[in-house]
């Protein structure tokens, strides 16, 4: 049945010890595995596959790749055909390219970001198990994030040169991977330039988002929390740990999410967010935000565009 959900993100970090401390003590992930190359694999307590985050030692910050999990192994062959038919080259990476992970279909989005699809990852179970589970486990650290929820990619956009990889990605994800559009930002004198889009495969407002920028990069990876109170507590955890908060707790107009933005010790932006927003469905009409109300779309209460939020990314 194709793509199910986000599977993992692979991030470059410049100080591995500081990165592990951050993702364990602030977000509440646990390290599940380390490999010989020095990569560290982590997961959230409510996830059942072996890892949802890979940290790679590097001399710079940013995203290596993002991976989505498909339901069946045969989906990889079908999606390889549809991606190639769309005009994007693919490579089938053999099982074991990533530890505890089956074969992966690898390709680049029109924006240049590397995406991978896989059907198999080692099952390890959630921290509460499957039989008469408690609603949450004891011993959670920090914000106690439930799962990696989505990510936002900054996509090269230069209208004068006719480049809009937000629109290209949106079309690609719709036509080749069968995602559906939930919300978009339309700008320009005629209000017809797609400068941002939010797309889903699940029933939540976004499993991936694209926003236009001068160069392609990673805007943030987001982790899910239950409630507004958990968002407040997460901010307390960040203050305790001297984490650089970019945007203090507030609400998005877009997706209705309750949110905090902050940076990991290498400058990769993270989000903790709560609220399922609304029931995202294929027949739900697409929400459009216009250029003049974009500030409210992003930060609903103040309606102010925060310069660092749109200009700073890795």
């Amino acid at each position: 049945m194709g793509v199910m959900r986000i599977g993992h993100a692979s991030l470059r970090v410049m100080d591995m010890d500081a990165a592990i401390r951050h993702y364990e003590n602030v977000l509440g992930l646990k390290t599940t595995m380390k490999d010989k190359a020095g990569n560290v694999y982590l997961k959230c307590w409510d996830e059942w596959d072996k890892f949802s985050l890979i940290l790679t030692p590097s001399d710079q910050a940013g995203l290596n790749h993002v991976a989505y999990k498909v339901e069946k192994d045969a989906d990889l062959d079908a999606l390889q055909k549809s991606v190639e038919a769309w005009g994007v080259k693919t490579t089938m990476l053999t099982e074991g390219t990533l530890p505890s992970t089956g074969r992966m279909l690898q390709f680049n989005l029109p924006s240049g970001h590397e995406m991978r699809l896989y059907a198999m990852k080692e099952y390890v179970g959630t921290d509460v198990g499957t039989t008469n589970p408690d609603p949450w486990p004891d011993g959670l650290k920090g914000a106690g994030a439930h799962w990696l929820d989505h990510l936002l990619l900054m996509c090269e956009m230069n209208p004068e040169a006719g480049i809009n990889t937000v629109a290209d990605n949106t079309r690609f994800m719709t036509e080749a991977l069968d995602f559906f559009l939930t919300e978009q930002v339309l700008v320009g004198p005629d209000g017809n330039m797609q400068a941002a889009s939010w797309m889903s495969r699940t029933t939540t407002p976004h499993d991936i988002a694209f926003v236009g920028g001068p160069r392609s990069g990673l805007h943030h990876i987001a982790f899910f929390l239950d409630s507004w109170h958990d968002v407040l507590k997460a901010a307390d955890v960040m203050a305790k740990n001297k984490v650089r908060i970019d945007v203090a707790p507030t609400r998005h107009g877009i997706t209705r999410g309750e949110t905090i933005y902050f940076f990991d010790p290498s400058g990769n932006r993270n989000e903790t967010f709560a609220g399922l927003g609304y029931l995202a469905q294929r027949d739900r009409p697409v929400t459009t935000w216009t250029e003049d109300m974009l500030g409210s779309g992003i930060f609903y209460h103040t309606g102010d565009l925060v310069a660092s939020f749109t200009e700073v990314y890795t």
Binding site: D59, S266, G267
Partner: protein
């Protein structure tokens, strides 16, 4: 000297505007620079990853506070004194020039309309 910040400070001089700001030896050059109150100083990730606070150290000693991204400061540039202001603390008076995205808030047109005084203020 502010009663809420009694730390000894080093004078940090910005070549482009001939401004000087005080900066403690245990804080980043960016933290000191932000106190200038100048509009538009880009404060990004503050962790050496995003590259918006690039400067070139012309004179003075600095101490590294953490790694900086090679995507924004190459090894050659680093050898020429370039670094990220969020990741270095002054150990002596420092003379620097702003670079990259920091150039705009320190450009001449901006400087004239900025609220910060070009004369070092008593802190």
């Amino acid at each position: 000297m502010s009663i809420f910040d009694t730390r000894p400070k080093f004078a940090v001089h910005v070549a482009q505007t001939d401004e000087t700001f005080p900066c403690a030896g245990n804080e980043s050059l960016l933290q000191g620079m932000v106190r200038l109150g100048r509009k538009g100083i880009p404060v990004g990730c503050v962790n050496g990853g995003c590259g918006v606070c690039k400067v070139r150290i012309l004179d003075g000693n600095i101490r590294a506070l953490g790694p900086i991204s090679r995507a924004h400061v190459t090894a050659e540039e680093e050898a020429m004194g370039y670094t990220l202001a969020c990741r270095v603390a002054p150990q002596t008076p420092v003379d620097l020039e702003v670079a990259g995205k920091l150039e705009k808030p320190f450009s001449k047109g901006r400087a004239e309309s900025a609220t910060a005084s070009p004369i070092p203020q008593q802190q």
